[in-house]
């Protein structure tokens, strides 16, 4: 029986600088068989180990339909993330996973999907976005709204350009504060709501970003008539083991690493009331 | 997998703990149920002993400073170099000073006292007792331990003066709560709001410079002398006096803000006069009483030596040329960081003996690796005056040695023998001459007036090393659990003051005293009075003492916005 705490070796295949403090790491398991069999749901996360620094959870930002490798997008804020940023292509890191419940990608088939992302909240959504692209026929209208503080802070700049070219989705990008060359929307992401038309009863919204952004987005979505069950977001808690044993991420009667981190707004509201 | 009963090496409570040593690490810490102090419980520090003492940061070999960095050498080489320098310096009048640890064992203390007086022939030997308990020094011959830790549990009136007990002595806080649950009344006189303020039936929050007058007045009321009734707290004082007189077994607990507060000498004097046999001062370091009791003090011989502050001043003046500092991070504990640093850097020769490379050790010419109390035999005296044995759980790490052994071997190198072949010889000698009983202290006064409020420095500032900080943080830094519990260093500012001076929450603020300045994030709160700020120690900022004078926790400051 495999040890649930034992990381598997992965190699850093590529590193991309997204913003001054954020990088995307493309990883592949050293053992090709493991990489082949590595399957996950959009919205799940992995625990990344850098021996000596420790372990930390990161949402997978690629879709399981993309084979051969997977990616995570990491901002350098703590011990593990800073150590990770010092690594180079070819270096080895440990991975455990996938963990978490993932997005309800199959339950929302046949519906309109609204993505609302803020700053570093786009990475987990990206996993579902690409899954939907690869299964486009299963979903109806797709709208992606994404905002960051400044143009520099936008992640996946190349992806955004590609998505902008697609005719089967609607993409709108905004920044809080524009720079000289910025020609797009200016204003917080909620200002984009006025510019779109939604079939609210048949739309499911996926929201990820900084807590304050989520708060205002959900407020506006509720005003628009969204049911609480149709607003999907993630709950953040400090995580350690990722397998529901260490106790750090427990909230109410749930473990964020097992029962989450994806929850609908009704569940989040209830959980936040619980000790 | 044997469990060894020993004493926790952190605070002065002296909890009995079982440690299980396995493959060079501590596998388990268990509080003793039968030990009268721990009674089956420990504070957060005790539970995490395992993370601290076997840290890879321990110094394992003697070090010598070469071109600004340290190089490992053998004990032979280290002793050779030290004895050469010591011999050349010690014969010059008053040029040598020894600062002993308040954390090493009684036997280490006694050996160091002999080393100082017989080998180096100096009375300039002291421990941090003078830094932490200066006001007690003039009362040393009158002072005795009348109240035990468990007496507090049975008290019906507990008067807490100048101490945040939950931080200074967790086991005492536990006893106070137990007494409170049994119906005891709790009185708190403290300039800062503390957790026990909420269970106090009478709570006085004096302005720092007012404390000594308050206590003096209380004394007059209790002793039915005439007193000045104009004080704003007079009704509360009268009530306290009345409770005290009626109580069956009252206890007065005093702590840091008396000993290291403004006009601490006067406050303590009054407290001592009123409460003498009912007094329980909090000695918050595991063997600070042992240090002074076993001779690590300039006050135990016919001729008075220099105390720790006088030694630093003497170095600045140029008379003291050499300091031998054992187990004390004086750079961070003395206060007045800049002045202390200058004093240490001015020395001709500095030897530091310690477990870790402390800030003080970094300035040394030679560093000697001592082993911790988990690695040797000994005894500690806790805050109620009980002598408790300490037993080794592990072998000395690397090449480290017990302090008493280093003193003995060094004395041999210096051309004299200290006559101790082994540990038992030391204990035999102590018993034979009945050292503890026959010791008498010289009359001494340590002037500790502190600062005064002025236009330039209109606020009182206290530097609060929170419970986890534990003095200088030397030990704590090695435990990731304990370090996790320390948040960013902050300064607590009264809300009214903040409003008047446009200081917002989380804003960076500069705190300036006449000795130096530091920058901290502001936290607006009403746990402090309007003209007091509380500098809370935090991760990495163990040197808030920049702003403090020697040996005090309080100073006067002004605030400025930091850009």
């Amino acid at each position: 029986m495999g040890n649930i705490y034992l990381p598997y070796k992965t190699i850093i295949k590529d590193i991309k600088q997204e913003t001054p403090d954020t990088k995307t790491f493309v990883l592949a398991f050293k053992d090709k068989k493991i990489q082949e069999n590595f399957d996950y749901k959009p919205g799940q996360f992995v625990e990344l180990s850098i021996y000596g620094a420790g372990e930390a959870p990161f949402g997978i930002s690629t879709s399981p339909t993309q084979k051969g490798s997977f990616a995570i997008t990491v901002r350098a804020v703590g011990r593990v993330t800073r150590a990770l940023h010092k690594l180079e292509i070819g270096n080895e890191v440990g991975i455990r996973g996938p963990f978490g419940n993932g997005f309800p990608y199959s339950e929302v088939k046949g519906k309109d999907i609204l993505f609302v992302g803020g700053g570093i909240g786009l990475p987990p959504l990206r996993s579902l976005i690409y899954y939907i692209f690869d299964n486009r026929g299963d979903y109806k209208n797709i709208t992606i709204l994404y905002g960051a503080r400044t143009p520099e802070d936008l992640v996946y700049k190349d992806d955004l350009t590609q998505w902008g070219k697609r005719t089967d989705i609607k993409l709108m990008v905004t920044v809080d504060a524009a720079s000289k060359d910025w020609e797009g929307n200016v204003g917080v992401v909620t200002t984009l709501f006025e510019q779109i038309q939604l079939d609210v009863p048949n739309t499911v919204a996926f929201v990820c970003g900084p807590p304050i952004m989520i708060k205002f987005v959900i407020r506006d979505l509720l005003k628009m008539g969204f049911l609480e069950e149709n607003i999907i977001s993630t709950l953040e808690r400090y995580m350690k083991c990722g397998v529901g044993k260490c106790g750090h991420c427990a909230i109410g009667h749930k473990y964020v690493c097992i029962d989450g981190p994806v929850f609908n707004y009704r569940q989040i509201k209830n959980l936040k009331e619980e000790p | 997998m044997k469990e060894v009963l020993t004493v926790c090496p952190f605070c002065g409570c002296g909890c009995g703990i079982y440690l299980t040593g396995e493959n060079g690490i501590i596998a388990r810490v268990t509080p003793s149920l039968s030990n009268p102090v721990s009674k089956g419980s420990l504070c957060i520090k005790g539970w995490h002993i395992s993370e601290v003492f076997t840290s890879p940061n321990r110094i394992q070999k003697p070090l010598i400073k070469v071109n600004g960095s340290f190089k490992e050498i053998s004990w032979e080489e280290a002793f050779e170099l030290i004895s050469l320098k010591f011999n050349s310096i010690k014969d010059k009048e008053n040029s040598f000073g020894i600062i002993g640890s308040s954390k090493f064992s009684n036997e280490d203390s006694y050996t160091l006292h002999k080393f100082a007086r017989q080998i180096i022939k100096t009375n300039n030997i002291d421990s941090s007792f003078t830094l932490h308990y200066a006001p007690l020094i003039e009362r040393l011959n009158d002072f005795d331990f009348y109240v035990t830790i468990n007496d507090i549990e049975n008290s019906d009136l507990i008067i807490i003066i100048g101490s945040n007990i939950t931080v200074e002595a967790p086991q005492i806080a536990r006893r106070v709560l137990k007494a409170y649950d049994k119906g005891a009344k709790v009185v708190v006189i403290n300039s800062l709001k503390i957790p026990f303020s909420s269970i106090a039936s009478i709570y006085i929050q004096p302005v720092p410079e007012e404390l000594s007058v308050l206590i003096e007045t209380l004394g007059k009321i209790i002793n039915k002398k005439s007193y000045d009734k104009s004080n704003s707290n007079i009704f509360k004082l009268e009530e306290i006096a009345s409770l005290y007189v009626k109580a069956q077994n009252p206890v007065c607990i005093c702590g840091e803000d008396v000993f290291k507060g403004v006009k601490g000498g006067a406050s303590f004097s009054s407290i001592f006069e009123i409460f003498k046999h009912r007094l329980f001062p909090l000695f918050t370091i595991n063997n600070i009483i042992g240090a002074i009791s076993f001779g690590v003090s300039p006050y135990v011989n016919e001729k008075k030596g220099l105390n720790i502050i006088e030694m630093l001043n003497a170095s600045l003046e140029g008379s003291i040329k050499c300091l031998y500092i054992i187990g004390e991070d004086i750079l961070l504990s003395a206060g007045d960081y800049n002045r202390t640093r200058e004093a240490l850097e001015k020395l001709e020769f500095l030897v530091v003996q310690d477990l870790f490379l402390t800030e003080t050790a970094l300035l040394a010419d030679v560093v000697l690796p001592a082993c911790s109390s988990l690695e040797k035999k000994g005894s500690f005296i806790n805050m109620e005056g009980s002598i408790q044995p300490v037993l080794p759980v592990l072998k000395p790490l690397g090449d480290s040695k017990p302090d008493w052994q280093i003193f003995t071997e060094l004395s041999e190198k210096l051309g004299n023998k200290l006559f101790y072949k082994d540990f038992d010889e030391i204990t035999k000698e102590i018993e034979k001459i009945n050292f503890l009983k026959n010791k008498k202290f010289l009359q001494a006064e340590v002037s500790h007036l502190g600062d005064v409020i002025s236009d330039e420095f209109p606020l009182w500032a206290k530097v609060d090393n929170s419970r986890l900080f534990f003095h200088t943080g030397t030990l704590l830094k090695n435990s990731s659990t304990l370090m996790r519990e320390i948040e960013q260093g902050t300064v607590i500012i009264n809300s009214e003051y903040a409003k008047e001076n446009d200081i917002r929450n989380n804003e960076k603020v500069k705190i300036i005293s006449k000795r130096g300045e530091i920058i901290r994030n502001a936290v607006i709160s009403d746990e402090v009075l309007k003209n007091i700020i509380l500098v809370r120690g935090g991760l990495g900022d163990f040197s808030s003492n920049v702003i403090l004078p020697f040996g005090l926790k309080w100073t006067t400051v002004r605030l400025e916005k930091s850009r």
Partner: protein, 355 residues
């Protein structure tokens, strides 16, 4: 070890008191036996024994539960790592098949073990716990002399158990009644010192247990059900939790001495190129337990943490998840809490609505 009773095989045996040590010495030849012993100080502990003379069955529960001591130790190396060129060499600690007999625990600790079994071995299976648990044989002792702080009856965890043990001993006059709970237990008594127990012995045991329940407990009854109700409904004033939180000294003792507590922290220790990943006990009562890298702390006030702890122990959701409430009534929290906050005290406060 499979603790389910297999109907026809379950038999009860009797052994003379004077033969217990002889039996133990036989077991010691074949198994590692961990049993209670008395230290010089008067404290009690559990340790591996080489001779039956070392043990005492007349003991006060040690501060740290023997179940945790063995199955979920305070400090445990999860793996060793070493840099080899560009790669990391990772080694798991060696597992042993050594069978261990945990002799002489009590129903409270046994109940805690069953609780921890469910926690660690359901869902994701904790390998370290399981490998030790699979090799553990438990011999429970029916308690007839509860300590001043015991309240296992209120938690429905003692003084005797119906199942979950490999063997259960009850002192009856000059004998010990031995109830066999599993094939592994049966194996232990496969020796001459035992004879079949009679119906009257079982009746005597029941009588003893009833007498203990009715007369021997010194703690006033802890009425769990209303507390469970109120805590589950989250209907308790914040003030009550804040008052309790004001007493908390943040020592973590409750989490360490509580035999059902299982939270841990994982830290890499060592130098840059070589070290080990260690898990060690952690406490939800520590301020930093839930603090996130951003600095945000969802349980910043001590009262929030007290509330969380008792929610975890008593709420209905956890009760249904785990099959029993998180308290076994051992009373260790009463002994060890520096702030005087313990299960009976909190249950009472939550029922009455005030501290």
């Amino acid at each position: 070890m499979d603790n389910s009773k297999t109907g026809e095989e379950q038999m009860n045996k009797l052994i003379k008191k004077e033969n217990i040590k002889l039996w133990l010495n036989e077991i010691i030849k074949k198994y590692k036996v961990i049993a209670p012993y008395k230290l010089e100080t008067g404290d009690f502990g559990f340790k591996p024994i080489s001779n039956a003379d070392e043990i005492t069955l007349d003991y006060i529960n040690p501060v740290i539960s023997p179940v945790k001591q063995i199955l979920f130790p305070a400090r445990e190396v999860m793996l060793h790592y070493k840099k080899k060129g560009d790669s990391w060499e990772v080694e798991l600690p060696k597992e042993t098949d050594e069978k261990v007999v945990l002799f002489g625990i009590r129903s409270c600790d046994l109940s805690a073990m069953l609780f921890l079994d469910k926690f660690f071995m359901e869902g994701f299976v904790d390998n370290y716990y399981k490998s030790r648990r699979d090799n553990l044989i438990t011999v429970n002792i029916t308690c007839t002399e509860p300590a001043d702080w015991c309240f296992c009856v209120c938690a429905d965890c003692g003084p005797s158990k119906e199942e979950g043990f490999d063997l259960q001993l009850t002192e009856i006059n000059d004998n010990y009644l031995v109830e066999i709970g599993s094939p592994a237990g049966k194996e232990l008594v496969n020796i001459d010192y035992f004879k079949e127990a009679e119906e009257s012995n079982l009746k005597e045991k029941e009588r003893l247990v009833e007498e203990t329940k009715n007369n021997k407990f010194k703690m006033p009854t802890t009425y769990f059900s209303k507390a469970i109700q109120n805590i589950t409904a989250n209907s308790i004033d914040k003030e009550l939790w804040d008052k309790l939180g004001g007493r908390c000294l943040g020592c973590g003792s409750c989490s360490f001495v509580c035999p059902t507590c299982s939270c841990f922290n994982v830290i890499d220790e060592g130098e840059d190129s070589k070290g080990k990943r260690v898990r060690s006990w952690d406490s939800c009562m520590y301020c930093g337990f839930t603090r996130e890298t951003s600095g945000y702390n969802p349980r910043k006030a001590p009262g929030d943490r007290v509330k969380r702890r008792y929610y975890h122990k008593l709420s209905y959701y956890y009760l249904t998840k785990m099959g029993s409430c998180g308290c076994v009534g051992c009373g260790r929290c009463i002994v060890s809490c520096l702030g005087g906050i313990d299960m009976p005290m909190v249950v009472k406060a939550v029922r009455r609505g005030k501290v």
